[in-house]
């Protein structure tokens, strides 16, 4: 785990945003921004250049899949780790998420312990 890993959180549901923020902190990381739509997520990522972006798939302005693809297309953000969260849990949903360039995919409802473990894994990889 990298204690200094910086994480951007994007989810249009305020309760989930807070829950993810708490889980990220439990994982020993810092939350550089917690935003409510895809456009804000992309803007914040360009500014903050986080180590990990936790993205909800279904968001206004731009979906998590679109944000993920945009991050991968830009040299400054192409190296960010991306964890997608979604209420869609079918194999097709997961395949679409991974095809958009995500490093991992968690279906809602997730367990906090599971989310903490994923954040640790992705930020540890990032540190390596």
């Amino acid at each position: 785990m990298d204690a200094s890993a910086r994480v951007l959180v994007a989810d249009d549901e305020e309760d989930i945003r807070l829950l993810v923020t708490l889980a990220v902190r439990r994982a020993g990381c810092s939350v550089v921004a917690a935003v409510a739509d895809g456009a804000q997520a992309l803007a914040a990522a360009r500014v903050e250049l986080p180590d990990l972006v936790v993205l909800d798939v279904s968001m206004p302005e731009a979906t998590g899949l679109q944000v993920c693809a945009a991050l991968r297309a830009e040299p400054g953000t192409a190296g960010c780790r991306v964890l997608l969260l979604s209420a869609g849990a079918s194999p097709d949903d997961i395949a679409r998420g991974l095809a958009a360039g995500a490093d991992a995919y968690l279906a809602k409802p997730f367990t906090v312990a599971g989310l903490v473990a994923q954040v640790r894994l992705l930020t540890a990889r990032d540190a390596a």
């Binding site: 989930i16 829950l19 849990a89 809602k108 906090v112």
Partner: protein
């Protein structure tokens, strides 16, 4: 006599009794001629010889005459038979013609009576020959405007036919190629049923389930094609809205459930601020019910996937014994709390099958949790897994033999409340709940067995039930094994 012999045998007149008198008369004439010759002859010996010869000739002639008369009688009998038969054949032909006309009239009236389905018949090239009132109503054109002037492809969305013909976007496709694409599957397999888009005279697009079959003439040669269509526009739209609704609802339910379960986890696992026993108990109830709601959402989504044909499997080698053990593990706590004993009988070496481990586990869990749920305290649930064989006709056998294929048999038996015989056929229908379940207030919505059956079917297996009300139930899941 000459006249009698010259007459065609078939035209011999009169009844046989009259003709029978002709032979003695001829004999008398011949005898008289012989006597005259005898009396006028030159000498007695010659006269005697001549008379004998004449008599012999007369006898021969009489015999020949008799034979001819007999032949004539036979021919007359044949003629009468032929006349009778000819009359009968003509009558038969007339009856057959009348029946054919009646049958054709019946067919026409049946086809004309169909007003909710389009029945369109074409020749081999797609030129319309039959256009029933259902087609008139569905496509908005009278029969007179279509028959022998329009082809079936005129009423199909061209882009669908072009795609079916394998054309690239914008590529010009000949009408004959479009028609060939339309009937290709029916030509290869004898029939084809699927949705096509029909274009109506007023420009509407209809989703129509069309059954295409070849039509043959009276000699069995292909004469054309039949297209029987049912307008599914509203039904398909309803299915689409239902699908959309289920997806929306499941998304809207999953998101708040994520919050409920996530924050519960934070509170219940907070080591710095441990809960009192009472708080832990109450929050445990909240969590259990949130999980129940989550399972219901998952079941609804899964059922919607099955209904729309979107159930996909991820096949791998699966040890079914491990799956049964895991199901027993999952049910153990609930079974113990209810006072139900669970026993397992598994082959020690396991049993490998090809399947989706997650889905097979779900199917097994459903059967085991149902068995526990429907068994009163003190009852028994038995899980048994063994290898068996299936005959070509589907009969199960316990030994291998030529023509048999191996299957895995997983049976889940309970000593529970049972299912009334009359309701067993509906068990696998979505949302169906047996009257015994309702009477005993056993919780559930009636999706578990629907899902289990769908998973089994998707694996090429079968799911059977035997039950006696008040005595118990056995579900048997048979999955094909690799030979």
């Amino acid at each position: 006599m000459t006249a009698l012999l010259a007459r065609p045998p078939a035209a011999v007149p009169g009844p046989p009794a009259t003709r029978g008198r002709a032979a003695p008369a001829a004999l008398a004439v011949l005898a008289l001629a012989g006597v005259v010759l005898l009396l006028t002859g030159p000498s007695l010996p010659l006269a005697v010889l001549g008379a004998a010869a004449v008599l012999a000739s007369a006898g021969e002639l009489a015999r020949r005459l008799h034979r001819l008369v007999t032949a004539a009688e036979e021919l007359e009998a044949q003629r009468r038979d032929l006349v009778t038969r000819g009359r009968s054949t003509a009558e038969d032909l007339e009856v057959a013609t009348r029946m054919m006309r009646a049958r054709a009239q019946t067919m026409t009236s049946v086809i004309d009576a169909v007003t909710e389905q389009s029945i369109i018949g074409t020749d081999r090239d797609g030129l319309v020959r039959v256009w029933n009132p259902g087609a008139e109503r569905m496509l908005g054109l009278p029969r007179a405007d279509v028959v022998r002037t329009r082809t079936i492809t005129d009423f199909h969305a061209p882009e669908e036919l072009d795609t079916e013909a394998g054309a690239d976007d914008g590529e010009d496709v000949a009408p004959a190629a479009r028609f060939a694409a339309l009937v290709r599957t029916a030509r290869e397999h004898g029939s084809d049923v699927r949705d096509w888009t029909y274009l109506t005279a007023d420009g509407r697009r209809l989703t129509v389930s069309v059954a295409i079959t070849p039509r043959t003439d009276d000699e069995g040669e292909q004469a054309g094609w039949n297209f029987v269509g049912t307008d599914m526009t509203e039904a398909r739209e309803t299915e689409r809205l239902k699908d959309q609704f289920v997806s929306l609802i499941s998304h809207e339910l999953r998101t708040p459930l994520a919050s409920i379960l996530g924050y519960l986890e934070l509170v219940m696992d907070d080591e710095e601020q441990p809960l009192t026993d009472e708080q832990a108990q109450y929050l445990g109830i909240v969590e259990r019910n949130a999980q129940r709601l989550l399972r219901l959402v998952g079941d609804l989504l899964f059922t919607a996937q099955v209904d729309t044909g979107r159930l996909t499997l991820t096949p791998e080698d699966v040890d079914l014994a491990a799956i049964v053990r895991a199901a027993e593990d999952t049910a153990r706590v609930t079974a113990a709390a209810r006072g139900v004993a669970v026993t397992v009988d598994l082959p020690p070496e396991g049993l490998l099958a090809r399947g989706d481990a997650l889905r097979l586990g779900q199917a097994c869990d459903n059967l085991v949790s149902n068995a526990v749920k429907f068994t009163p305290s003190g009852g028994q649930v038995t899980l048994r897994l063994r290898r068996a064989w299936r005959d070509a006709d589907g009969t199960l056998a316990h030994a291998d033999a030529p023509g048999r294929s191996p299957v895995a048999l997983l049976s889940v038996s309970d000593t529970g409340i049972g299912i009334p015989t009359g309701e067993q056929g509906k068990l696998f229908t979505s949302f169906f709940r047996a009257s015994t379940a309702r009477r005993n207030a056993v919780p559930g919505v009636g999706l578990g067995l629907t899902i289990t059956k769908a998973i089994t079917t998707a694996h090429g297996g079968t799911l059977d039930v035997e039950s006696a009300e008040g005595r118990g139930t056995t579900f048997t899941l048979a999955l094909p094994l690799l030979p």
